[in-house]
Symmetry: C2
Subunit: 483 residues, 2 copies
């Protein structure tokens, strides 16, 4: 994997403090997570980045299945007339749609949208499949690619094509749809915190920020280490809007015809960007063990009886760790020094490094080095699998807790606009404030500070007037500058 490193790659990583944006791009490219492609707006996810995505995807997929959903696959193309059925929906997405107009050398009778999201095509199938209350709830998820035209490209964060999952469910009652919307918001929160080590706040979007066609949009919002927010997943209660537009009707237990209630929820390859920006440091990536492509990299030290003793011992160690169910990589490449390899694998974020040299072979031990704290431990070979597992658990927990401390430290209660402006032009972060709910003022604040309302906190009651208008507050809102 590390073989494909080119001389024209960045050779040093820009320090985070110097230029966060360049630091991010450097890390993504140098760690070989992704690369630019010859297609405008589109990137290539390289094997190391894709392995990270596969691990994340499998963990989220297990959570989605554990809550009773099954996966399915719907067409990539959506006929224009179908996309237009839900008025708000098409208005929201039309400016970003890629249109197929020709098949082979023939012009199509009707243009096909490359799906920007699949409500339209999926709801049109649900109207066929749902007839009776017995057909509900319908709990389906899809993993796939979607396309939303972008003028600016940022690795993982903003690309014309991206990978994601989109859940689409239909229910017999409004209550069930609301329960589902919140359940999946909870699944996202658990996945981000427990698997990716990314703490989040959850809340509801304002009318201005909600999904095109939804009654209510909920979101999980994370705070990146440059003080900007990243929306890491959304869960929409679509009410009966799509059921009415696409005619999803069923006969209820009283033989009455009803429209179904539907939800949709999605999480994308953006989370990989969030992972980089939450945990990375000036030496590169730091990966939470649960999703790291390798848990442990073994670096044999070329000294003493290398071929006869050190390398065979390193191979035994590799086998021992693999048998214990760990993902392990033995870096026995001849053309690089151990020091170069240490830097390389630190930069690529592998949680644990095992060093083994002639003296270690003699003492039947290895040195385990943590990526997050750089702590070193000498461990007898036989104890390595257990010791590694314990360290990995500790790294996973401690990465979340470090990130949570950062988020809490950078969540600022704000009572007036002067303070708001001051924080926004300084360290930024989550700004927590009482809010009157006026959409025009929301736009005004954004124009002046580039902060938007990330979410309203439905469980908190405002205890004073709006920080901006001085009018009575209806909500407690979290503001931030967003990715």
């Amino acid at each position: 994997m590390a073989k494909n490193r080119n001389d024209d790659f960045v050779t040093e990583i820009t320090p985070k403090s110097e230029d966060f944006s360049r630091w991010y791009t450097d890390v993504v490219r140098k760690a070989e997570l992704a690369d630019y492609s010859p297609v405008k707006g589109c990137m290539v996810i390289r094997p190391y980045g894709y392995a990270l995505w596969e691990n994340a995807r499998d963990l989220l997929d297990a959570r989605i299945k554990a809550t009773g959903h099954m996966n399915a696959y719907f067409p990539l193309f959506i006929p224009e007339s179908l996309l237009k059925k839900e008025a708000e929906h098409v208005e929201g997405f039309a400016p970003e749609v890629a249109w197929v107009t020709h098949g082979g050398s023939n012009e199509l009778e009707e243009r096909l949208a490359v799906r920007p999201t699949s409500e339209a095509i999926i709801c049109s199938m649900y109207s066929k499949w749902v007839q009776s209350w017995r057909d509900l709830p319908l709990l389906i998820n899809q993993w796939g690619n979607v396309v939303r035209w972008e003028k600016v490209t940022r690795f993982f964060l903003r690309t014309t094509e991206f990978l994601w999952q989109e859940g689409h469910t239909a229910h017999a009652t409004a209550e069930e749809a609301q329960e589902e919307t919140l359940k999946m918001l909870g699944v996202y929160k658990d996945f981000l915190e427990e698997d990716l080590g990314i703490p989040v706040i959850t809340g509801i979007k304002t009318e201005k920020e909600k999904f095109a066609g939804a009654d209510r949009t909920y979101a999980v919002e994370a705070l990146m280490s440059d003080g900007r927010a990243l929306q890491a997943g959304t869960s929409h209660n679509l009410g009966q809007n799509f059921a009415k537009a696409f005619d999803i009707q069923f006969e209820d237990k009283n033989q009455e015809i009803q429209y179904a209630w539907s939800t949709s929820w999605g999480m994308t390859t953006r989370t990989i960007g969030a992972l980089v920006m939450t945990h990375g440091d000036d030496n590169g990536l730091r990966l939470p063990p649960r999703v790291a492509p390798y848990h442990v990299v073994i670096v044999p030290i070329k000294a003493g009886n290398y071929e006869e003793e050190v390398l065979p011992a390193a191979r035994e160690l590799e086998e021992l760790l693999r048998t214990a169910g760990l993902r392990v990589y033995l870096d026995d490449r001849e053309e690089y020094t151990p020091g170069w390899k240490y830097n390389e694998w630190e930069m690529r974020g592998v949680p644990l490094r095992a060093e083994i040299g002639p003296r270690d072979v003699k003492n039947k031990q290895t040195v385990l080095v943590r990526r997050d704290t750089r702590d070193k431990t000498f461990v007898p070979i036989d104890h390595v699998p257990g010791a590694a597992a314990t360290l990995l658990d500790d790294i996973q927990t401690s990465m979340l807790s470090t990130a949570r401390d950062f988020m809490e430290t950078n969540t600022h209660p704000v009572k007036d606009f002067d303070k708001f402006r001051e924080i926004m032009s300084g360290p930024r972060g989550f700004l927590k404030a009482n809010w009157c709910g006026d959409r025009d003022l929301e736009v005004e604040i954004q124009q002046e500070t580039s902060a938007t309302i990330r979410c309203l906190l439905p469980d908190e009651e405002p205890t004073g007037p709006c920080f901006y208008s001085g009018k009575p507050a209806k909500h407690v809102a979290i503001f931030a500058k967003a990715y």
Copy 2:
């Protein structure tokens, strides 16, 4: 899952012998593997069909990774100029390409092809990544969707969009590329036979049938139960064609600049169609245990103390089987009779059914019924996990062996064209014959009998003249009418 069955679905399956094509469509729809979509040429893969695909995909993915490949992801779109770089390649694919011409409301400067296959985009990246012999071999696989415009739609077998994996590798020598091409052909053969229970023959394509841009195309060919062949996977040795077109060059160990040698290989959702047509019978699907969404379905019999005794015993059995690592579904739906459920799950191909009624509860036993042979076994509850595992192994083996017998019985050595025509207008099958290698005659035979050369058998020497031309034979060929 079985909840979304509609009244407008087929209620009976057309017998295989009456109309194979209708039988196939009936089974796919009634078993809820797939459904028609509002997009011409595209189908929807329903949850039960997708679960089958996921299981197959994961097994093939593990084999691809075990042979040293890693997954990555490349853009869906290919700029027209890039697709045109390899002349034969674009000529082969241009008639099937879907073209994106607009992004939002803007016309694009250059049209983008929705990938029909990814050689062009992947090779353009390889030319960046490959500089030195140290960068080789480059062993990458991609799972994704591709689009090839189709006028006719057949579930899984022929759809405009389909899902697949495509491997793309680059090597330092011609020998290594050839070794890789054959290795992946072997991976496909093992996957089809061991995991899907589909026996295949492997061989090389004629010039007429090979991949556009390849030096040599190898294929795995299976025989469906209607005597038609299905190409289930292909592995291409691309020689230096793509390396030259896309400038994939490297410095070898002697500091000389060389073009790389490349391969590509793919397998698609077609294999699900092959699975249906290889194993299905007049009662519906028969699924090999390794890929079946459920290994066992439990049907509790509503009699005696149902709520207090039978249902709890069924739930215990479910838990017992799940803990043993089996995929299990307890069908405790109130609205259907046990007899209806037996038919339903037979039709959906579940390898084992466990029946449990009041008498079974009393005797601490269950009845296991095999889908393939319908054999019944009474098994004490405590022994069920072991007994089920043994039966599932046996079903897996016996399905392959039944299919292999069919393939062998229907592989006909043919010495003259009269016999050839007779078999082709009768039972069909694989027709094995000595072949002179004349491309014009290959076309002639196809026009007259609709049989094509599925592959040449590289390891067999012809022992007589060409069955058709009487000229000296160069190959032993397998002819068949293909899907």
